[in-house]
């Protein structure tokens, strides 16, 4: 059985010391080991950004693609080989700006993949511009007078798009984060985990301390029922989106792969490419 060390490789991350992304990497490695995965059965598909480098820092199959497209690539991987555990990952710009269209539709489609957003409320790699997750009034290189657009609420959007698993966490809370990733991998369908991951270099407002002060852990509400979609939406709004934990899960809905008529359990990638003469003749006969 693989341990979390088996998910490490010898590539040194080029993240700034203190960047929240380190813990997210560690949480993925721990969760993968604890659910009993072998490295060759995990595929991490990432976008472009500081965060997007994550697929190169985990010993597993991985593809570091183009900005905003981690999700469609990940869905292609899953359709081709549903025996793999597929994680898609990237920044808040990657998933909620350039890739927002894909995010909403991946949620609707509900393929069995886990999407981890490394949310630092800013663009890190391009050195500090505003993100859809930036607060109104937030001053960045591209918003010197403060952002005048509203802040996007991915959790509300996910719920209204029909998400079957919505969670949020904080990179400092390695225990909660690891547990949520484990649950997401076990969930049969699309899981969104938005993770607050401070950018220590460019975001001087949403710091570790700021998050610690503002976060509300769902643990504090023992009666909270994550199967209740209305309650989930209410709680997100009540907390201004600052809650962490498993916010919503629908265990009833089948995953996309399970709903495709005639789609086998066996990976498509392992099936034969040939067609029989008989099937071929049948196809051709339609045009005679």
């Amino acid at each position: 059985m693989a341990t979390f060390k088996d998910f490490r490789n010898n590539v040194k991350p080029n993240w700034c010391p203190g960047c929240g992304d380190f813990s997210i990497q560690a949480a993925i490695q721990r969760a993968a080991a604890s659910v009993g995965l072998e490295p060759e059965n995990l595929a991490v598909i990432s976008g472009i950004g500081c965060s997007g480098r994550i697929s190169g820092y985990i010993n597993a199959y991985g593809l570091h693609g183009i900005h905003g497209r981690a999700l469609p690539i990940a869905q292609g991987v899953k359709l081709a080989n549903r025996e793999l555990t597929v994680i898609a990952s990237g920044g808040d710009g990657d998933g909620f700006a350039i890739g927002m269209g894909h995010t909403v539709h991946a949620i609707r489609r509900n393929l069995d993949i886990t999407y981890i957003v490394m949310d630092n409320q800013i663009y890190g790699l391009t050195k500090g511009q505003t993100s859809p997750r930036s607060a109104e009034g937030f001053k960045t290189k591209s918003t010197p007078e403060g952002s005048i657009e509203t802040t996007l609420s991915p959790l509300e959007i996910a719920l209204s798009a029909g998400a079957t698993f919505v969670a949020q966490s904080f990179s400092s809370d390695l225990k909660q984060l690891t547990s949520l990733i484990e649950q997401a991998m076990a969930h049969k369908g699309f899981s969104l985990i938005n993770v607050f991951s401070p950018c220590v270099t460019f975001n001087k407002v949403n710091t570790y301390d700021w998050f610690k002060e503002n976060i509300v852990n769902l643990n504090e509400f023992p009666d909270y029922d994550p199967s209740n979609r209305i309650a989930a939406m209410t709680k997100i709004m009540e907390t201004g989106g600052m809650l962490t934990g498993l916010i919503y899960q629908n265990k009833e809905r089948k995953s996309y792969e399970d709903m495709i008529v005639g789609f086998k359990e066996e990976a498509l990638a392992h099936q034969s490419l040939d067609i029989s003469r008989e099937s071929f003749d049948k196809l051709v006969a339609e045009f005679k």
Binding site: D6, R8, N9, N10, E38, P39, E40, N41, A43, I45, I48, S55, G56, N59, A60, Y61, G62, L63, H64, G65, I66, R69, L71, P72, I73, A74, Q75, G76, V77, K78, L79, A80, N81, E83, L84, G101, H102, V104, H105, R109, I260, V261, G262, F263, A267, L268, A269, H270, Q271, S272, L273, D274, I275, R277, S279, F280, L283, V284, F287, K288
Partner: protein
């Protein structure tokens, strides 16, 4: 007796023009005639004039004709818009309901058949198409039994009563017109066909069939004219082979999903037209950089922007050849017949996996949507080659990584699929080393660029150019691509008759450009005509750039939305001489 004839049906969109054409031509196909169809349609769904034309012949044909023998009209507009194409002595079969008149200056016989009235009498005006096709059939002097058999197959699942009603409609249409004409018209009597079984199929369906034969099991696509039929065909058929089609949110998702699925080991394709191709450009670069196989079909239509979405054009060539930033190896194949549409898909998937490059299959609207007769596809010619795909790779020591981008002599590295124990490696669009780790080393950069860009040096496809060169030193060499081949051949027959010698080369491999193969023919010809459906002579530019001979090359360009007619090609060539 004649060996070929042109027939056209016109009416309002949604009025049965399509179905009349379908039943009429299916029956002709059964008899072994060669057919070539041309659909005129606008982007409106219902209403608006539409017409379908078919050319019927005892010999292989691959072009629309200039003139027309029989026009079937559901309304006066169809007569007014199309009667000028009729040859003198041609026939109009029109619905008596609208009191048809022959426009001034048109020398044609008119048969006013109570098409709607007969249909309604038999129960529903929906049977108009049967009355009209029955009348057409009778004029050709063909046996009704064959037609009735086709009707039986079309309506069989609706029950015997429906079949009989429709057969009755056919009979009534036939009887009525024969009575008016005094029997089948001699000059429309078709010689017997060779009776050989052929397929009657559009290019997009042949592409769909070729895709399945190639072992492709996933398609991700976004609907667009004139590509959608590929998706619609595959969504019906792929589930039978364990696969599926995903209609994505846009073409960026379509192409990146295909990249992901190819990476994970399933042959996957997407298909679109110009606007979708434009959206795919960044991802095509990713496939090139990460050496993933990828097959894209671009069914060209009138551009730029939304352009002429339902019209013929060949203006995406530059986008296909040059599209995406930076420099990647890429193959662009241009099938030039329905048979090509089938076999080239198999080739495209093989080349894409053997060379680990994106392959774009270029068609044009006329090739994609024009229904044509073709030889039955040969099962024994299907061969699948996955190139350097390796499996059962032994696990490496100490989490060492697999050399997915190993520098090899031919530039092509072993490829391994996720799930393989010893195959773990990185994949990134960032410049990378042999195991896929990001690298900014200038030595590595140069090696990797050279590796990728030289990979295609050994590429060999079936008929990179297709040659019909009976003359060593012809007056003319005519060069075309895509759907124009048949038109060029007909023009050449007329040129031949005038004593003007010509050779014909069809370019099927647009990129990398087959300059060497082509040069021999360029060299031998006195003048070169390059024929293309665009305004800026994109194919001619490729020829001049890669093979030279600029001083000999003349452009014949058409970009009004319509395919070339044989007479136009003939006239253009003649004027040069």
């Amino acid at each position: 007796m004649i060996s070929q004839l042109s027939w056209k049906i016109g009416g309002q969109q949604g009025e049965g023009v399509e179905s009349t054409d379908r039943i009429f031509s299916t029956a002709l196909n059964r008899l072994g005639y060669y057919l070539y169809g041309y659909r005129h349609f606008s982007s409106r769904i219902k209403g608006g004039h539409t017409n379908n034309k078919i050319r019927i012949s005892t010999q292989p044909i691959r072009a629309i004709s200039d003139d027309l023998d029989i026009l079937v009209a559901f309304d006066q507009e169809s007569i007014d818009l199309n009667a000028h194409e009729l040859r003198s002595g041609g026939v109009i079969v029109a619905d008596a309901k609208f009191n048809p008149v022959v426009p001034e200056g048109v020398d044609a016989r008119l048969f006013a058949v109570p098409i709607t009235a007969i249909a309604e009498e038999l129960g529903t005006s929906l049977m108009k198409n049967m009355v009209a096709s029955g009348a057409s059939w009778a004029l050709l002097g063909l046996p009704l039994e064959v037609f009735n058999k086709a009707v039986g197959e079309e309506f069989g699942r609706k029950g015997q009563a429906v079949v009989e009603k429709n057969i009755e409609a056919v009979k009534r249409g036939a009887e009525f017109v024969l009575e008016q004409a005094g029997g089948p018209i001699d000059e429309f009597k078709l010689e017997e066909a060779d009776g050989k079984q052929k397929l009657f199929i559009i290019g997009n369906e042949a592409i769909g069939l070729g895709t399945i034969a190639a072992g492709c099991r996933l398609m991700s696509a976004y609907p667009i004219t004139p590509a959608s039929e590929i998706m619609e065909y595959l969504i019906k058929k792929l589930p039978k082979f364990g696969g599926t089609v995903v209609q994505t949110e846009d073409e960026i998702a379509a192409v990146t999903m295909a990249i992901g699925a190819n990476y994970a080991g399933v042959r996957t394709m997407t298909a679109s037209a110009g606007p979708g191709l434009s959206l795919m450009m960044e991802a095509i670069g990713l496939a090139g950089m990460t050496e993933q196989p990828l097959v894209i079909v671009d069914t060209q239509r009138g551009g730029p922007s939304t352009g002429l979405p339902t019209k013929q054009e060949q203006s995406d060539l530059n986008a296909m050849v040059y599209g995406t930033h930076g420099e990647i190896p890429k193959v662009v194949l241009a099938p030039a017949s329905i048979e090509d549409c089938f076999y080239d898909m198999i080739e495209a998937f093989n080349v894409s996996e053997q060379y680990q490059v994106p392959v774009i299959v270029m068609t044009d609207l006329q090739l994609s949507l024009g229904k044509q007769s073709c030889e039955v596809f040969d099962y024994d010619k299907i061969q699948i080659n996955r190139g350097k795909l390796v499996s059962d790779v032994p696990a490496l020591e100490d989490n060492a990584l697999f050399k997915r981008y190993e520098l090899t002599e031919d530039g092509i590295s072993p490829r391994v699929l996720p799930g393989e124990k010893g195959g773990i490696h990185h994949v990134t669009g960032v410049e990378h080393d042999e195991v896929g780790r990001p690298s900014e080393s200038s030595i590595n950069r140069k090696k990797m660029m050279d590796k990728r860009l030289n990979k295609l040096n050994g590429l060999q496809i079936r008929d990179a150019i297709r040659v019909d060169a009976p003359h060593d030193n012809p007056e003319l060499l005519i060069i075309g691509m895509g759907s124009t081949g048949g038109t060029i051949d007909e023009a050449r027959r007329r040129l031949d008759a005038d004593g003007i010698t010509s050779n014909h080369v069809t370019i099927r491999q647009i990129a990398p450009f087959p300059a060497e193969e082509l040069s021999v023919y360029l060299n031998g010809a006195k003048r070169v005509v390059v024929l293309e459906n665009n305004a800026t002579a994109q194919l001619a530019s490729q020829i001049k750039m890669h093979a030279g001979y600029a001083d000999k090359i003349h452009n014949v360009l058409k970009y009004d939305g319509n395919p070339f007619l044989p007479s136009e090609v003939y006239t253009a060539c003649k004027e040069l001489n």
